[in-house]
Structures are given as structure tokens and as C-alpha cells.
């Protein structure tokens, strides 16, 4: 593996760890943005140009911004006084460690069966576009429907309700 891969992997994992461990919520959001950027670069290192740029556009440009907006709207930018981890954090940590152990074991056990080398695929954006409106047109339409309904739903959920008179 190239040093670039190790650097990107370290960036991604460090961003994720910081996002989970930091105390200040805005710092967490910025750290997770670093992690998203690292993942986008990993996509690029996998020759998935389109997916990498889409990742930057949607995760850094939209999801991270949504998260910081939500943090500021819920007064999360103020430092929490008490504990930041829930009462049952040990159980959560054990479950996460168990899941990682299981996944890692599965990857290492099957590493011999995995393909070692593949020539870089030469797919252009043109091919992706053709696939999206050809073979995958039904999922595309369903995603369009889902996004529309999600937008409307999010607006309705977050809309100011009329305060009942007390």
C-alpha cells in the first residue's frame, strides 16, 4: 500500500475519532467534516472520481452545514456542563469493539480469497450517466421521490407550530 493511502486512512480515522470524543459540538462537526473529506479522497484513490466529488459536494457542502445549523439552533455550541457520554457508555463501547473485532476477523480470514490486483477501470462520467438513466432508472426515480418527500417532511417537522395559548 502506498504512503498516500496510509495518510488518507489516518486522516479519516483521526477525524472520526475526534468527532466522537471531542467535548465541543462544533468541533465534533468540523472533525467529522475532515473525516468526510478523507473518505472523499479515499474514493478518488479508488479511481471513483464521480463518487468522490459527489461525496465532497453532498457531505461537506450540505450535510456538514446542516449539522452545524442544527447545533447552533439547539444551543449546542455552548459547552455541556455535565458528562458527554451516556450512562450506558460501557455497553456501547463493548458492542462497538465487538463489531470491529468481528469485521476485522472476517476481513483477515478472507484476505487470502480477496483479489490482490485489478487494473484501474476506465469508466467515464458518460458511462455513469448512461447507467443512471438506463439500467438504474427505476432506483433513480425512487431516489428523486424520496428526496422530495424527505425535503417536504423535514420542513414540516421543523416548522414552527402555532403555540397553544396557555
Amino acid at each position: 500500500m502506498s504512503p498516500v493511502f496510509y495518510f488518507l486512512a489516518a486522516l479519516t480515522v483521526a477525524g472520526g475519532l475526534a468527532a466522537v470524543l471531542l467535548r465541543n459540538l462544533v468541533h465534533c462537526a468540523l472533525a467529522v467534516t475532515v473525516s468526510f473529506a478523507g473518505l472523499a479522497l479515499l474514493f478518488l484513490s479508488l479511481d471513483a472520481q464521480f463518487a468522490g466529488f459527489a461525496q465532497i459536494l453532498i457531505y461537506i457542502g450540505a450535510v456538514a452545514i446542516l449539522v452545524v445549523f442544527a447545533i447552533l439552533l439547539t444551543r449546542g455550541a455552548e459547552l455541556p456542563g455535565g458528562a458527554i457520554f451516556s450512562r450506558t457508555w460501557i455497553a456501547g463501547l463493548v458492542i462497538a469493539a465487538g463489531v470491529f473485532a468481528l469485521l476485522g476477523w472476517a476481513v483477515i480470514e478472507s484476505a487470502r480469497a480477496l483479489p490482490t490486483y485489478a487494473a484501474a477501470p476506465t469508466v467515464s462520467v458518460h458511462d455513469i450517466g448512461l447507467a443512471l438513466v438506463g439500467r438504474y432508472v427505476l432506483p433513480l426515480e425512487i431516489v428523486a421521490l424520496l428526496l422530495t418527500s424527505a425535503t417536504i417532511g423535514a420542513v414540516i417537522v421543523a416548522m414552527h407550530e402555532k403555540e397553544p395559548s396557555r
Partner: protein
């Protein structure tokens, strides 16, 4: 370690970090961030399998990842909308304090 296995290990690590964040943090927004990390790890798996799989020209893994990015965006919007509306109701985003069914 083969390249594919290395990518899979990174994805597993990010997934575990996201899961730990979602399960242990008190703040609802942090739980959502953890879920986003888990989704991203799954995307990395899909793209890695697409890249090293036998038929990259079929584009299956890549298209799946693109759809998953789109769905994750919708999920984030709705999830954060819910967090904001809960905050408006209960004046907190602490999940340990949201233990009543009564509003």
C-alpha cells in the same frame, strides 16, 4: 495486506467509531454524526469492492454508493429536523433526559 483488505479494514474501523459514537454520546446530533460515519464506511466498502471486483464496468458498486450518498442526505435532513423539533418541545438534546413518552 492486499489493497482491498486494507480498504475494508479502514471501513471497519470507521464503522466501529461511528457505532461507538452513536451508542455512547448523550447528544442527539452526535448520534446522527455517528450514523453518518457508519453510512460512509459502508460506502467505502461498496466503492472498494467495485474497484477490485471482477466486473468494474458494470458500475454496480459505484452506483450503489451514489444512491446511498443521496439517501444519506435525505436521512440527515429529516433527522436534524426531528432533533430541532424535539429541542423545541423538550428544550434539550440530551438523549438520557428524553425518557418520557409524555410530551
Amino acid at each position: 495486506m492486499t489493497p482491498l483488505a486494507a480498504y475494508l479494514m479502514v471501513a471497519a474501523l470507521v464503522f466501529a467509531i461511528g457505532l461507538a459514537g452513536a451508542l455512547t454520546r448523550r447528544n442527539a446530533i452526535l448520534v446522527l454524526i455517528g450514523i453518518e460515519l457508519m453510512l460512509n464506511a459502508a460506502n467505502l466498502n461498496l466503492v472498494a469492492f467495485w474497484r477490485y471486483g471482477p466486473h468494474p464496468e458494470a458500475l454496480t458498486g459505484m452506483i450503489f454508493a451514489i444512491f446511498s450518498i443521496a439517501v444519506a442526505a435525505a436521512e440527515a435532513a429529516v433527522g436534524l429536523g426531528l432533533v430541532i423539533s424535539i429541542y423545541r418541545h423538550a428544550r434539550t438534546t440530551d438523549l438520557d433526559q428524553m425518557n418520557r413518552m409524555k410530551g
